[in-house]
């Protein structure tokens, strides 16, 4: 998932760094003035969605948040972080290769027509087909027949539909994967797997502008009017009467307010012009705790931040002791507490605490130990000068500088932080051999499974096409991940993934630095606000206070 909040924070944080410095605590909660006439909606903060509201082309957080209100996923994630059926009646498999998805009856599109298995097949085939250039295409890479519809750069697809998708009847979809994958059910809660009504596709074979502005979903809320992206300051929704699942009690109107700066949204929350703010700026955290009290929440977020090592590009970092020494020389606790004001926590595993499979303290080399680090580094003959690349557009400068200071002081070497304009610039520079230093790297999950922290970033198959930018390759690791994929139940698969994780912890291809946290708060007008594993709100649970 790409995080456009990053981009927005350029406009926000970079310009408005001074932010809430003047903000004193101890504000009283005066009741807001009631707007005359009609129901006051529950108002939620978002950044402007990057694309039109089309689930198959939305892989960033803001658009996903809106779509999550409009569509109902096949699975949701329960308290134990396990996928449970939502729009699906059952999702079964015997071999992790052929999956049978039975749909729950009673679901209708917002135009009244029933939802069928064909609507799912249509959406997934549309997303996978290369010519449609949908950003969620890669989610279907495991489905049998993906190669035919998505053969790669410069090649023409030989089919329009994936042969692995079979509509058995109106309520049954059979999915055959190219290879077994035990975590497939977990993937199904994501935006890319929402269905698509027939009317979404126009005569030219593309998703229509009208659908992108006012998507017809099968979820709890429907859009009241088309959302003109770039012009409308809000997205207005109301509860869909015929939604068969749980509906909120006492309220029916939802409003997403588009903000360009999270600082401004925070001021609006204090003035009770906004009800839910799920990306409180780091500058506001200490004030927010005071002002909001028990309306402030701080929960683990599934994203992770690393220092990447260019294994493939630079011999200097190929000795594992060099990487270990660098890792031990980083004072994670101080960085997360001071640079990030507690909005991150020190990383101690490759798997994030928000996801099943995380083991506390698993990463021994993630413990701060400057004396040992220096000894190890010198014994291993680590490079005397290091470059530390980062992209300048996402608020990374401060923590990269902090890491650089750690390395200078603790390893006695010369460290130069090197800004790139965008993250892509680092990758291009590595590929063209213009740059061969360490680099900043982050990962936001695509689906909440431990496997998602392994294959796409460290698998040999992810070099070149995936996100394995450092070029790490380890046969044992690949085999263990494959064993996990082939397992017939999720829990058994997890064991193998953890063994694969152990190899990463030993090899340290990347150096985990911090886990993200979600900092959100709400106004006095609502209560029972909860985020799910994908950082989306459980709307049905919210009550008006």
């Amino acid at each position: 998932m790409r995080v456009t909040k990053g981009a927005r924070i350029v406009a926000g944080t970079a310009l408005l760094a001074l932010a809430v410095a003047a903000c004193g605590g101890g504000a009283s909660d005066s009741g807001g003035t009631a707007a005359g006439g009609g129901e006051t909606p529950v108002r939620m903060e978002i950044g402007e969605p990057q694309e039109l509201l089309n689930p198959q082309n939305t892989t960033e957080t803001e658009g996903s948040e809106v779509l999550a209100a409009v569509f109902s996923p096949l699975v949701r994630y329960d308290e134990n972080k396990q996928p449970v059926e939502e729009a699906a009646e059952s999702i079964t498999t015997t071999d992790s290769k052929v999956w049978t998805i039975k749909l729950k009856s009673g679901y209708t599109w917002h135009d009244g027509t029933p939802v069928t298995a064909a609507d799912y097949a249509r959406a997934w085939n549309f997303a996978a087909l290369q010519d449609n250039a949908m950003s969620s295409s890669y989610f279907f890479g495991r489905v049998d027949g993906y190669e035919d519809v998505h053969p790669g750069e410069g090649k023409t697809p030989s089919a329009k539909e994936m042969k692995g998708l079979k509509v058995v009847d109106d309520s049954t979809l059979e999915v055959t994967l190219a290879a077994p994958f035990s975590q497939f059910k977990t993937m199904l809660g994501y935006t890319a797997f929402y269905p698509m009504p027939k009317s979404a596709i126009g005569p030219d074979g593309k998703v229509t502008q009208a659908f992108g502005e006012q998507p017809i979903g099968q979820g709890l809320f429907k859009l009241d009017k088309p959302y003109k992206k770039g012009t409308d300051p809000t997205i207005e929704l109301s509860v869909y009467d015929k939604f068969p699942g749980k509906k909120p009690t006492g309220w029916t109107k939802l409003q997403f307010k588009v903000y360009t700066s999270s600082e401004t949204a925070w001021n609006d929350l204090q003035a009770e012009n906004l009800d839910i703010h799920d990306s409180l700026p780091a500058t506001a955290i200490s004030t927010a705790k005071q002002v909001l009290g028990d309306r402030y929440f701080d929960e683990p977020d599934a994203s992770i931040g690393y220092i990447g090592t260019p294994l493939k590009y630079n011999k200097d970092f190929q000795n594992v002791d060099v990487r270990k020494a660098i890792s031990m020389a980083i004072d994670r606790k101080t960085i997360t507490d001071t640079v990030f004001s507690g909005t991150r926590s020190p990383a101690d595993d490759f798997i994030n605490p928000a996801i099943p499979g995380y083991r506390q303290g698993a990463c021994e080399a993630c413990t701060y130990n400057p004396a040992e680090a220096k000894k190890l580094y010198e014994a291993a003959g680590g490079p005397k000068t290091i470059e530390l690349g980062y992209n300048n557009d996402g608020g990374h400068k401060e923590w990269i500088e902090a890491v650089a200071n750690n390395l200078r002081a603790n390893l006695g070497i010369e460290v130069t932080p090197k800004p790139f304009e965008k993250f892509q610039g680092i990758l291009d520079a590595l590929d063209s051999k213009e740059y061969k230093g360490l680099f900043r790297m982050g990962w936001a999950i695509d689906y909440p499974a431990a496997e998602n922290y392994l294959t796409p970033i460290f698998g040999t198959g992810a070099i070149g096409t995936g996100s394995n930018y450092g070029g790490y390759s380890n046969k044992d690791f690949d085999e263990l991940v494959a064993k996990g994929d082939q397992a017939t139940d999720s829990a058994e698969g997890l064991k193998f993934y953890q063994q694969a994780d152990d190899i990463l912890l030993k090899d340290l291809p990347y150096i985990p630095v911090y886990f993200y946290r979600s900092n959100f708060g709400h106004s006095t007008k609502v209560k029972n606000v909860k985020l799910n594993l994908l950082n989306q709100i459980n709307w049905a649970d919210i009550e008006k206070a």
Binding site: G6, T231, S261, A271, E421
Partner: protein
């Protein structure tokens, strides 16, 4: 006069065309791949990037790309689309409305407050009022918009509502109609108010020392008539020049104010679009801004003739 206006407008055409080409080239020359930027911190799927590049003509040479763009504008009135396939004309229509409201509010405040204070200071030159006005304008000039914006938003937006319960100055957005623009308008106008005050003061003080003012006073005209009719009118020329040029600044340069007050205007859009390398959006907006400058300058030139009868346009 009519002929002069038409000639000026015809002269604007090559300026506008040149501006579009220049901006187009500049955005083109910026480093980085616009398609990659769409994928954030992930490497884009090469197959998909290829389809998108083809779709937006990014593989073609610069001049051909420019031809696609400019022929669309000239022959079809089509300003192109951004990378989310939203027509640029739709983006511009919504955002210019907001920015225009903001700029006009700011301009009115400048004219009223700036000229008013300057007039007052000029008439009380050397006295305590004058010193106080000068000191406060100095403060207004030295404090960055960022600070005034946040402080005023917090005090008049957030705290005032918390204390009184009345929503007088909205914190952000355009939901309260014209009231939404008062606070951001003032913040945006801040430094200009200060400059204009000082400009008015100096210009008027200068004029008031002129011989014809002495003559007017000696003729026995009332003080109001001397200052208003003979003094201020002649002192207005530099002020009008400043205001005219400032309109363009206010429209294109309001990024910070727009961000603080969450006004989804043109400044912010320009910032994002340059970041995302959305050529058609950047070119469209900048061209309109150039047009605003041209028109504002024309109006200023015409106003010279009104203010000073000695100036004539053939």
């Amino acid at each position: 006069m009519g002929r002069y206006v038409i000639r000026r407008l015809i002269q604007a055409i090559p300026v506008l065309l040149g501006a579009t080409l220049l901006i187009f080239c500049i955005v083109f020359a910026l480093p980085g791949d616009p398609i990659a930027a769409l994928f954030g911190d992930k490497r884009p799927d090469p197959a998909i990037a290829e389809v998108l590049r083809e779709q937006y003509h990014l593989n073609d040479p610069l001049l051909l790309q420019y031809w696609y763009y400019i022929s669309g504008v000239l022959f079809r009135g089509d300003f192109g689309v951004n990378f989310a396939d939203i027509p640029v004309s739709q983006i511009m229509a919504g955002k210019f409305q907001i920015t225009l409201n903001l700029a006009l509010t700011a301009l009115t405040m400048e004219a009223v407050i700036g000229v008013g204070l300057g007039l007052w200071a000029a008439l009380r030159r050397g006295k305590a009022t004058d010193t106080m006005i000068l000191a406060s304008t100095l403060l207004l000039i030295s404090v960055p918009t960022l600070v005034t914006g946040f402080v005023l938003q917090l005090l008049l937006g957030v705290k005032l509502k918390q204390w009184t319960g009345a929503d007088i100055f909205p914190v952000a957005g355009t939901f309260a109609g014209w009231r939404s623009y008062l606070l951001p308008g003032f913040v945006l106008a801040g430094t200009s108010i200060a400059y204009l005050t000082r400009l008015t003061r100096t210009s008027l003080a200068e004029t008031l020392r002129a011989d014809y003012i002495r003559t007017a006073t000696a003729k026995g005209l009332s003080r109001r008539r001397v200052v208003g009719r003979h003094g201020l009118r002649n002192a207005l020329i530099p002020l009008v020049t400043y205001l005219g040029a400032d309109l363009g600044n206010l429209m294109g340069g309001a990024v910070i104010t727009e961000t603080i007050f969450n006004l989804q205007g043109i400044g912010n859009q320009l910032f994002t679009s340059v970041y995302l390398r959305e050529q058609p959006v950047v070119v469209g907006i900048v061209t309109v801004l150039v047009l605003v400058y041209i028109l504002a300058n024309l109006v200023v030139d015409l106003l010279y003739a009104v203010l000073d009868p000695r100036i004539r346009y053939e």
